[in-house]
């Protein structure tokens, strides 16, 4: 247990430094005059001109030598100061927290609903076998092959326009969250239900499972006592991995449902060369990633205390 936490702490430091430096270098390498880009975002894209650019350049002192900028950026970092957004002037912490808060809310709800979809589907196709298994497999492959916004549009047409149950876009009330989260959940569940199925099949076929029934336990009791915990192990690890690959889907969903998340915000920040926001966002997402993965590791450790790299192997 302790070494998991220690390893993750080390990783946290490496990630904070690595992400920061990487974004810093990459941002420096971007072509295009930064002053102009920031002016464009500040004063509206039709209203930017040389005068605005010079104003921005003086105000932000963009011509200082990059190494100096990097040093005092690192120095600020140590005091947890992320600086202010070049475009809106608000502290990076607030704008990222606002955007990230909504994205995390969407991600967590989406993941949670995807768990509610994937586990029954996976277990059902493992338990009932082929007619259902193939149907679920075909369904998952089709959903995985489609860009997320197509699923989003289908839900919108159905639930928002046809039956008018949920609002089409925007945020504010829980009703706004339903359709975006459902779209994200479906795209995640299409992948994770296959993992649940293969893990469940492995456990159902394993000899300790039949041996438990030979001991006299009923089918349901065997599943309850032996099935859930053994199936959960690879599934929980997979959900941890999915947290990372979720960002592409989130960007599309946020843009389609006008959800004020980080995905869209980050894209704008990169176009507008708003370096502090990008670094702040990438940093906080990196830290969040490490924390979530630590949580997943602890969960896995709690399920299967046999630490060690190779899970499931006899020691």
């Amino acid at each position: 247990m302790k070494d998991i936490l220690l390893k993750r702490l080390l990783q946290l430091l490496a990630v904070v430094w690595g992400v920061g430096t990487l974004t810093f270098i990459l941002m420096r390498a971007l072509p295009g005059d930064m002053a102009y880009r920031i002016a464009a975002s500040r004063y509206g894209h039709d209203n930017v001109d040389a005068q605005a650019a010079t104003l921005v350049r003086e105000e932000l002192g963009l011509d200082a030598n990059p190494f100096l900028l990097y040093i005092n950026w690192l120095f600020d970092l140590l005091q947890f100061k992320l600086g202010d957004s070049l475009v809106s002037g608000t502290p990076v912490i607030d704008s990222v927290q606002h955007m990230l808060g909504y994205s995390v809310l969407l991600a967590v709800t989406g993941l949670f609903i995807s768990i509610l979809i994937a586990i029954p589907l996976g277990l059902l196709s493992a338990w009932k076998g082929n007619p259902i298994d193939n149907a679920v497999m075909a369904f998952s492959s089709v959903v995985r092959a489609m860009p997320v916004f197509v699923i989003g549009v289908i839900f919108l047409m159905l639930f928002a326009l046809h039956w008018n149950w949920f609002p089409v876009a925007g945020f504010g009330t829980p009703a706004h969250l339903v359709l975006p989260a459902l779209t994200l959940a479906l795209s995640l569940a299409a992948v994770s239900n296959r993992v649940v199925k293969s893990s469940a099949q492995r456990v159902f076929k394993s000899s300790f499972y039949t041996f438990a029934q030979v001991k006299g336990l009923s089918k349901w009791r065997t599943f309850h006592r032996h099935g859930i915990r053994n199936i959960a192990l690879p599934v929980v690890a997979f959900f941890g991995i999915q947290l990372i690959s979720m960002i592409e889907g989130i960007v599309m969903i946020e843009s389609l449902f006008s959800w004020p998340g980080i995905g869209h915000g980050l894209a704008h920040a990169i176009f507008a060369r708003d370096i502090p926001v990008i670094q702040g966002a990438a940093l906080i997402m990196g830290v969040l990633f490490v924390l979530l993965n630590t949580l997943i590791d602890l969960l896995c450790y709690w399920i299967d205390p046999r630490a060690g790299d190779v899970k499931g192997e006899r020691a």
């Binding site: 041996f211 030979v214 006299g216 336990l217 915990r229 006899r314």
Partner: protein, 468 residues
């Protein structure tokens, strides 16, 4: 005497291929039956058929009566635990890897006998003490040794109190001291009901008594009273099975022969997981001789062998390879590829991605060995030409081990570490492999370090014994 189990003309088919020819037997209360025979002879198919655990691809013929009533598969499955149980072959993967030992047993009391939580755990603790696992209640299966896991399996399966117990190879892979406890435990647990055991270990059959059936490649060849079958075996196959058994060996005997020393070991110690595996040991391995290394499982026999091959670091002591005087110190014989190893589980020592022929060609091209040496060796090792076209998965364990020896011989080995080469093989093939090792040592003057439990397989084939 009530009839617990009555089988009439029960046989098992895969499609139209008969894997187990018709067998009839009646298992009465208090009178155990033991089924003897080679591994893979279809014995365990019978037990699985009775339990209703056969894979879907197989079909059962004949009539199975339990407590005098013929039952369908579903009915038999309802009897699991309370009336009819089977002890699985591999104890490790028959226990839930994530569940503590005590709860594997307390579950049965709680959910089969509907006891409440505290009563179930006290009953479980009582069972654990009974099988000698009192203090390992909180351990998980992977923290138990083979013997402990088997005893836990027995305790948990018999907790439901089923009178009729089937045991499939209950002592496989265990060393002799452990086997004794397992058999006693089985006898006690089946005292009220009855026991049907399947094994290839003649000593177990002798100890259990009752009736014995001998099966050879799917066919019943002899049946009768335990003493009668064991003392006056009618069928030649049964005789071979019985006299393959010899008294156990126990103390170190060093060879006084004048052969040259190949490896000289001085107070060698190896450490694994922070603790020393065995006290400092010194002996020398002589050319052309077989050194038999024996000791408890987990005492580091394999590590010692690997240390001699330079695969494992040593903690202290010295291992010096003595270049034999008779052969001049050609660079050729000190090369590492003449120090070879035979493995316990033959299929795992080969890659299944290519045929054996390809593996052989690889070896020939690597060391530009003269291919004409292969046919005579093949005949000596009893390997058929057609064998080479298949890959290692669809070839028997015995043939694979002999193929491994062929590959070793092609490299004119100087030293061969045989790590339990026969434990996965049945007695007859094990004997053949042992004889071949004898031949390798004598003919090619190659030193062999043998690690093995099968006292009756090794027999007299050794020149010195080292006990860890």
């Amino acid at each position: 005497m009530t009839e617990l189990l009555k089988l009439t003309e029960v046989s098992v088919y895969a499609g139209d291929v008969c894997l187990l020819e018709p067998i009839s037997l009646t298992l009465a209360q208090g009178r155990p039956i033991t089924i003897l025979g080679q591994t893979g002879a279809g014995k365990s198919l019978l037990a699985q058929a009775v339990m209703g655990l056969l894979p879907d691809s197989l079909r059962v013929e004949g009539d199975i009566q339990i407590f005098g009533r013929a039952m369908t598969l579903a009915e038999r499955q309802k009897l699991w635990g309370t009336e009819l149980v089977m002890l699985p072959q591999e104890p490790w993967n028959a226990l839930d890897p994530l569940m503590k030992a005590s709860s594997q047993i307390s579950d049965v009391y709680r959910y089969v006998h509907n006891k409440d939580r505290s009563e179930a755990s006290t009953l479980a603790q009582k069972d654990l003490e009974y099988v000698g696992l009192a203090d390992s209640g909180n351990k998980r299966p992977d923290e138990l040794s083979g013997g402990m896991a088997q005893r836990l399996a027995i305790a948990s399966v018999t907790a439901a109190g089923a009178p009729l117990i089937l045991a499939d190879e209950p002592t496989k892979g265990l060393d002799s001291t452990r086997r004794q406890d397992i058999v006693n435990l089985l006898q006690e647990r089946s005292a009220q009901g009855s026991l049907l055991t399947i094994t290839h270990d003649v000593a177990i059959a002798r100890q259990l008594g009752g009736d014995i059936l001998v099966i050879k490649s799917g066919r019943l060849i002899e049946q009768g009273e335990a003493e009668k079958v064991l003392n006056q075996p009618q069928h030649p196959y049964t005789q071979a099975l019985i006299n393959a058994e010899l008294p156990p060996q126990s103390k170190t005997e060093t060879s006084e022969s004048d052969k040259d020393v190949l490896i000289d070991i001085r107070d060698l110690m190896i450490e694994r997981g922070g603790k020393n595996l065995f006290p400092p040991v010194s002996f020398s391995v002589k050319q052309g001789e077989i050194t038999w290394l024996i000791g408890e499982s987990g005492r580091g026999k394999s590590s010692l062998g690997d240390a001699l091959l330079g695969l494992v670091p040593t903690k202290s002591g010295t291992v010096t390879r003595v270049v034999p005087a008779t052969q001049q110190a050609t660079p050729q014989n000190s090369q590492s590829y003449r120090w070879l190893k035979l493995y316990q589980d033959p299929p795992s020592a080969f890659t299944d991605s290519v045929s054996l022929q390809v593996l052989l060609n690889d070896l020939v091209t690597l060391h530009n060995i003269d291919p004409s040496r292969i046919p005579p060796l093949m005949t000596k090792l009893g390997l058929k030409e057609a064998l080479l076209t298949r890959n290692c998965n669809n070839v028997s364990g015995g043939e694979l081990q002999r193929f491994a020896i062929l590959r070793a011989l092609l490299l004119n080995p100087v030293f061969l570490f045989a790590d339990e080469p026969t434990s996965r093989l049945d007695p007859i093939t094990a004997q053949e492999v042992m004889a071949l090792l004898r031949y390798v040592a004598k003919e090619t003057n190659c030193a062999i370090l043998l690690v093995s439990h099968d006292v009756n397989v090794v027999g007299g084939n050794y020149d010195q014994v080292v006990v860890l």
